[in-house]
């Protein structure tokens, strides 16, 4: 069964080539937190870093729908990437069970010069599937994404919405156990958004864990069952009823 257990995880981005003179020094001494971004801290004798995640505890099991909320630079994407195994936490314990698929950004994990079809092959090979098996998936992905002839065109000829269609269809076709999504997919295109929601619901029934990072509080309140509201890398996992109450109070 898929699960994610994070205990006191923190992440510090090293500022490569930084020093503690000048502006960094001022920021570190003041210890103040800006409205955007994590806290700038000392990471050694002469280097500074950004404390992007600060001692987070998260517990997700099969069927969890987890929302990550927060303003720009609050650590949403960072948390998503830590859960996806891209960044290892600087401290704390992270235990992820199950095959993780992440859609972090439309420019990542995709070869822009290769065709949509070749990208599907790449993802399939990465999962250790045979070419024949991948071809079956490719047919299904082409149909679901509605990309038609574009599936045989290089990805750099796609619009961002089309890249998203390709990535989402591919990611979900290979049946992940944990799916990580940055921002709501399908924004703008009503028809595809409905398909996305339906597919996510279907996958949830096969005990998938879905984590979505977003700004959209209202939509999150309707979708998630637990959430975390990050502020400068800090936050606590709460039940979704708290978010519903908060939205009612402010409206």
């Amino acid at each position: 069964m898929a699960s994610i257990i994070a205990k006191e995880i923190s992440l510090v981005y090293p500022m490569v080539g930084s020093n503690q003179r000048g502006r960094h020094k001022v920021a570190i001494e003041a210890g103040k937190v800006d409205t955007v971004g994590g806290k700038i801290i000392k990471t050694g004798k002469s280097h500074s870093g950004v404390l992007a995640l600060d001692k987070l505890n998260i517990n997700l099991k099969a069927g969890s729908r987890f929302g990550i909320l927060g303003s720009n630079g609050s650590g949403k994407s960072t948390l998503l990437r830590v859960l996806g195994g891209i960044y290892r936490p600087t401290s704390g314990e992270l235990d992820v069970t199950g095959r993780v698929t992440g859609m972090f950004n439309l420019n990542l994990g995709v070869s822009k010069e290769a065709t949509g079809y070749e990208n599907i092959i790449l993802k399939g090979l990465m999962l250790g599937l045979s070419r024949d098996k991948i071809k079956e998936h490719a047919a299904e992905i082409a149909e679901f994404s509605e990309l038609g002839e574009y599936i045989n065109m290089p990805v750099h000829t796609y619009s961002s919405g089309m890249v998203m269609r390709l990535m989402f269809s591919t990611a979900t076709s290979f049946k992940p156990e944990i799916l990580l999504l940055d921002e709501w997919i399908g924004t703008g295109d009503r028809n595809f958004r409905d398909k996305v929601d339906k597919r996510l619901n279907d996958l949830m029934e096969s005990a998938l864990i879905v984590v979505i990072a977003s700004h959209n509080r209202n939509r999150m309140a309707k979708w998630a069952n637990t959430y975390i509201d990050l502020k400068a890398g800090q936050g606590v996992q709460k039940d979704i009823s708290e978010l519903e109450r908060e939205i009612k109070e402010t409206s």
Partner: protein, 262 residues
């Protein structure tokens, strides 16, 4: 110690992704020659054109006969192409794989294998001209065929450790890629490829301090002089052992940090 163990396991895990990185490397080549009519044929064409022009200019200065010099130059230049490629591609190992490193939690060694394999594919383009030159000038003996697999292993292992060491170094300190590119251009002239050691006179003794010479010796001597240069092989072996040790040490430190350097 556990960092060392996980570095080794990363290298083993990465090998399991071979169908993945092989396809990525092929795509890299296709992209490099995209929309060009001659396409991948440019690798061979560029090699032959370079070789032809160098042969015309430098054969007059060479002390050996035209035939011997032609083979000497062809083999030396093909080997240099591989070495140069391994070093230059090596500096970009991780930087050029940025979108995969930040997008998928793959073993870091996948990007190393991709870089080495891409360089191997590029080098294959120089094989036919070398074969033709050897056949045409009638240099073929048992030592060549016995050497080939070992030379290939030595070259690939070197490309592997160079990719890890330089790839990590250049991801962290970007000045190094410029420095290394410049150094390699200088080394081309300091290495006996377009000239022969005999042309140097008294200064010939300095050639032994150039590590690239030994890598060239192990290919060139069996073909031209018909024996195996054991001394050069020992030196190449020592370099490989030191290089692999350095690579694993660097990798156990850099593996988890590279993503933050990109």
């Amino acid at each position: 110690m556990s960092a060392l163990k996980s570095a080794l396991s990363d290298i083993a895990q990465g090998w399991k992704y071979r169908s993945f990185w092989q396809l990525l490397a092929w795509n890299d080549l296709k992209q490099r020659f995209r929309r060009s009519w001659i396409g991948v044929g440019w690798i061979m064409l560029a090699f032959v054109l370079f070789l032809g022009s160098k042969l015309v200019i430098f054969s007059f200065m060479a002390s050996s006969t035209f035939t011997v010099f032609a083979v000497y130059l062809t083999i030396g230049f093909a080997a240099w192409r591989f070495i140069m490629g391994a070093v230059i591609e090596g500096t970009n190992t991780f930087v050029s794989s940025e979108n995969w490193i930040k997008g998928e939690p793959l073993p870091m060694s996948v990007h190393v294998y991709r870089s080495v394999y891409r360089n191997l594919l590029l080098a294959l383009g120089t094989v036919p001209p070398v074969m033709i030159a050897c056949w045409y000038f009638g240099t073929s003996n048992i030592y060549i065929w016995a050497s080939i697999p070992f030379v290939l292993i030595a070259y690939l292992l070197s490309a592997f450790w160079v990719s890890i060491v330089l790839g990590s170094l250049c991801a962290r300190y970007r000045d190094f890629s410029h420095l290394i590119l410049t150094t390699m251009q200088i080394m081309f002239f300091l290495t006996p490829i377009i000239w022969e050691v005999g042309m140097l006179g008294a200064k010939a003794k300095y050639v032994q301090y150039n590590p690239f010479v030994y890598y060239l010796d192990i290919v060139r001597i069996p073909m031209l002089e018909g024996y195996i240069p054991w001394n050069s092989w020992i030196i190449v072996g020592i370099f490989t052992a030191i290089g692999m040790t350095a690579a694993i040490t660097v990798f156990s430190f850099s593996r988890r940090r590279i993503v933050f350097w990109l």
